[in-house]
Structure formats: C-alpha cells, structure tokens
C-alpha cells in the first residue's frame, strides 16, 4: 500500500471539499473491505483517503413517506437486521445473506457495496481495469472463466462485483449523491456505466461526490427475490445472480423487472427477460423462457460459456422463488 494522508471530515460538505476533481488523487473509505485490499494490490493509489465514518447522518435505515432510506454508511449487518427490510424487501435481505462472512457484513457498508471495484484478476494484478496490451484484450486472449457474457463487446470484460446492486435496481432504487454543486438523486441503474477508455471508472459517481443514501420505493405488492449461483457455500464470488421484482395480478405477472449480476461490466437490466414473463402465469416453463430470453444475446468469451447456462437458471429460479414455492 502506498502512503496516504487520512482525512476524517465531520460533515458531508467537508467531505466533498476534501475530494479531488480527478480520479486517482483521492478515494473515499467507507467500510474499507474493498478499498484497503485494492490499495494493498496497488490497484488504486490515492494520496488522500477521506473517511465518511465521522459523518453521523450517513448511518441508519429509516422509512420516510413510504420510501426506505438506507444511509450509505449503514453496515450490511444493520441493513439486514432492519425490520422494514426484512418485512418488505426480502430480496435485499437474501442478497446480504449470500455475502460472507459475518465479518464482512459487520464492516462493509451499503454505499461501499454498491461502489466496490471489480475483482477481475487482470485488474487486481495491475494490468488496468480494461486489461489491454498491444491493443488487445488480455481477458479475451487469456483466462476469462469468471468474466462477462453480456455487455462485453467493448474493451470492458470484467463483471460488476456487487451482489446488492442488482436487487436494488430491480426494486427501482435511487441513490443520493452529494457534490460541490449540491445533491443529485439518480436511479441506481444510472450509477453504473461501462468504461470504454483507460482511466474511466465503471460508475458515474464524480471524483468529488459522495454517495450518501440509497432510496428504495415503496414495495407493497411487489414480490422480490434473488437467486445466486456460486461454487462454494461461503466466501466465494457469485458466478451469476438474478434479482427479480414482480407485480402480480391474479396469478399473472403484470410487471417485471429482472436484473442480472456478475455477468456484465454493470448490473445488467434485462428487459428481454421481463418481457418474456410479463402477461404470463409463473410456471417452470414461463420462468425458464424468461431465463432463455435473458441470455439470448449473450456473447460468451472463450472460457465462460457455462455462465450463459447458469444465468438462464438463476433467472428461472429467482422468478420461481419470488412466486413462492
């Protein structure tokens, strides 16, 4: 890890003032579970680390006019233990339950979970987020068993690492971002972007902004679920996840939102899957058809074709889980 100066602002405004306007100089530390490792790997080398820990109003879960507000510094364990989350947003609870171990849940925060950096091994070994060499993608030429099967036509082949993001996006969550110009509120989906040039990041947060809050709309009548496929029972990254939020009327899916995780450089919203299940009664067959639709346009790399099958299954099982067994 390179040396850095450490700042512990007491307010959001102060925090924003301490951040640089370009990537590279400053990093925000929340729970530290990703950033500290990334700094040890020299994947990021900030000169200043700004801690959000001492800003008191960033922590906690509240329900305000029907919306769920999750402070960005709320730990995953705190989110999981919140009554409103357990009661009304089972998919959020399920997603955190899949994150191991308990030590991570106690440290990692909601905001950090959404903004953690990719685990791509070329990136972590120091070859850059796009891992290009002589104009070629090292990922395409090399070992891509854990890489993207969707949204990978550009230079970015890594997968978005957040387990929580697809679930929150399925639930139409928004995030609040504080910057020098004040607060902006955007759909969580819009927080993510696929970089096309070296130096770009995989999210749209500006270097001098902080994520302060996740806002999840009222979810009454929404059936949400997530299904995760990973090889080990614990302490293992997912190979594919699917999050679904369904509105049913009389057994028929009126509206669906299906978001895939760990298969693309961003949490992958799949209108194809949603359309396939909308207007249908949920059954093995219709759920599987949605799964097939989700991967119809998949473009697997040399070694990750199996993730196409896994994703199809994850979608199917998430839909069946949302329906209730």
């Amino acid at each position: 890890m390179e040396r850095f100066e450490y700042a512990s602002p007491k307010s959001r405004k102060e925090a924003v003032g301490l951040l640089g306007s370009e990537w590279g100089h400053t990093e925000v530390i929340a729970g530290g579970t990703d950033l500290v490792g990334a700094m040890k790997d020299y994947a990021v080398t900030p000169k200043r680390v700004v801690s959000l820990k001492h800003i008191s109003d960033l922590r906690g879960v509240r329900v305000r006019s029907g919306e769920l507000h999750i402070g960005s510094m709320t730990t995953l364990r705190e989110v999981m233990d919140d009554h409103a989350v357990k009661q009304n947003y089972p998919a959020v609870y399920e997603a955190i339950e899949e994150i191991h171990g308990e030590q991570i849940r106690n440290m990692a925060t909601a905001g950090g979970s959404l903004l953690q950096r990719p685990r791509c091994w070329y990136y972590r070994l120091g070859y850059g987020l796009l891992a290009e060499r002589d104009g070629k993608s090292m990922v395409s030429e090399g070992d891509n068993r854990y890489h993207a099967i969707l949204g990978n036509s550009g230079p970015a082949k890594f997968v978005s690492p957040s387990t929580l993001a697809p679930v929150l996006i399925a639930l139409n969550a928004e995030v609040a971002l504080d910057g020098p110009g004040g607060v902006r509120r955007i759909a969580l989906e819009k927080l993510y972007t696929t970089p096309t040039e070296p130096g770009q990041r995989e999210h749209t947060l500006r270097p001098n902004e902080i994520l302060t809050e996740v806002i999840v709309p009222h979810a009454a009548g929404v059936r949400s679920a997530m299904y995760e496929l990973r090889q080990k029972e614990e302490l293992d990254w997912p190979l594919s996840t699917a999050a679904v939020a369904l509105e049913l009327s009389g057994g028929t899916v009126r509206h669906a939102r299906i978001v895939l995780g760990h298969v693309a450089p961003v949490p992958w919203v799949s209108p194809e899957a949603s359309q396939a299940i909308e207007g249908k009664t949920i059954s093995e067959e219709t759920a599987d058809a949605a799964g097939q639709a989700a991967v119809r346009n998949a473009t697997p790399l040399s070694m990750n074709g199996y993730k196409v099958q896994l994703t199809r299954v994850a979608v199917k099982r998430a839909i069946l889980k949302a329906r209730g067994a």
């Binding site: 890890m1 390179e2 040396r3 850095f4 100066e5 450490y6 700042a7 512990s8 602002p9 007491k10 102060e14 003032g17 301490l18 100089h25 530390i29 530290g32 579970t33 500290v36 490792g37 700094m39 040890k40 000169k47 200043r48 680390v49 801690s51 820990k53 001492h54 364990r77 339950e97 191991h100 171990g101 308990e102 030590q103 991570i104 106690n106 440290m107 029972e233 614990e234 302490l235």
Partner: protein, 216 residues
C-alpha cells in the same frame, strides 16, 4: 548510513514507537522524517478536517481494555499495528485481504477482519483480540470445546475461528448446523478441522447456556 541513522534517532517524536515497545536498543523509527511531508495535499482550511499523515501520527487504540498510544502511518492496518507494534500476535495474518478470517477480532463486540481495517479507523472503538478471552490462563468455553473436539491441527486458523465462534454464539445461543453454514462461513482452515469445529460450537453453546464459566 550510520550518520543518517543517528539523525533520525534525534528527530524521533514522542509516543510509543514499536521500537520502544520491543524493548529495542534505541534505534529509531524513521517515519518521523516523513511526518514533515504530512500536509502535502492539505491547505490550512483543510487542516481542520482532521487530515493526518501520510507520515506517522499519534494513534490511540483501546485494545483488550487497555489504552495504547502509538505512532503510525495512516496506511497501517489494525492487524499490523497489533502484531508488529504491540506484539499482540494471537490474530494471524494469512490472506491479508479479508477472505480467510485468521485475523478475526472484535470491534465494539462485532467480529471483523483486522487485516482490512486501518488502525487509525479503530480509534475510539473497543478492540478485542483472542488474548482477552484467556486472561489469567482460564480458557473460554469455546477454547475448551476446541480442545475437547480436536477442532485444530496446525492451529494457525484457530484463534480466528475461536473469535468468530465466540461472536457467533452471542448471536446464536442455540445454533443449528444451518446457522453454522450461514454465519460461520467467514473463516477458512487448510488442515481440515471443520468437523471438530462444528462439534465444538455445539458443545460450547451448551456449556455457555448452562452458565459454564465464561469471561466473555
């Protein structure tokens, strides 16, 4: 080289350096030189925002109920501060990336990976390591259960596992095997002691619920 060492020595600022702790021969920590560069990025206004480092800065930790004053660079992890500077070595450094659990310790009674916490961020919190649970030589019921069920071989993952189990049993006084799978999955062992650990957890739960001695 020799002259330089001397110079560094003279510049040493107060506080407990790791050298002092290790009952060293008076050889200094050279970080003091770097401390002068500490405000490289900070403007005067920013100083109020508590900017510290990048050189060594005074850091006060509360470890196992004792106050420890150290001089540390902000980049030093809590685990390294404990092991390298305070000789508190029960927590092991294994993966060093928050993926194995050998450094499991408690912050404000909650289990965390010490390798992934900056020491400076642990200021103002209670840090508890495995040493706390056998003070005076008496084994915690979880430790005894590990011995009884041979839940250890080389023993290198053991302190982390014991800490995870102590925290786990607080949350699950009557655990099921499913609870173990879900909430005790943050630790890895290479020798393969999980069978014993599963049994040890069950025994410790029993001992602790029947009021077996515990200094937890």
């Amino acid at each position: 080289m020799k002259d330089k060492k001397k110079k560094v020595h003279n510049q040493e600022t107060g506080g407990v350096s790791r050298r002092d702790f290790l009952r060293g021969t008076g050889v200094a920590v050279s970080g003091a030189i770097l401390a002068g560069e500490g405000t490289a990025l900070a403007s005067p206004q920013e100083a109020s925002a508590g900017i510290r480092g990048p050189g060594e800065v005074p850091v006060t930790l509360r470890v196992n109920g004792e106050t420890k004053r150290l001089n540390l660079e902000p980049r030093v992890t809590l685990l390294d501060a404990l092991r390298d500077r305070l000789d508190i070595t029960g927590s092991k450094r294994v993966c060093d990336r928050g993926t194995c659990g050998a450094c499991t310790m408690l912050i404000d009674d909650k289990p965390v990976y010490g390798c992934t916490v900056l020491a400076i961020e642990a200021e103002g919190h209670d840090v508890t390591t495995i040493e706390h649970f056998s003070k005076g030589g008496q084994l915690h019921p979880v430790m005894s259960a590990f011995v009884d069920h041979d839940a250890q071989q080389c023993g290198f993952c053991t302190p982390g596992f014991v800490m995870a189990c102590i925290a786990f049993l607080k949350a699950h006084p009557n655990p099921t095997q499913e609870d173990i799978k879900k909430d005790l999955g943050g630790n890895l062992c290479r020798c393969g002691t999980y069978a014993g650990i599963r049994e040890a957890v069950m025994q410790a739960a029993k001992t602790m619920s029947t009021g077996g001695s515990s200094n937890a």
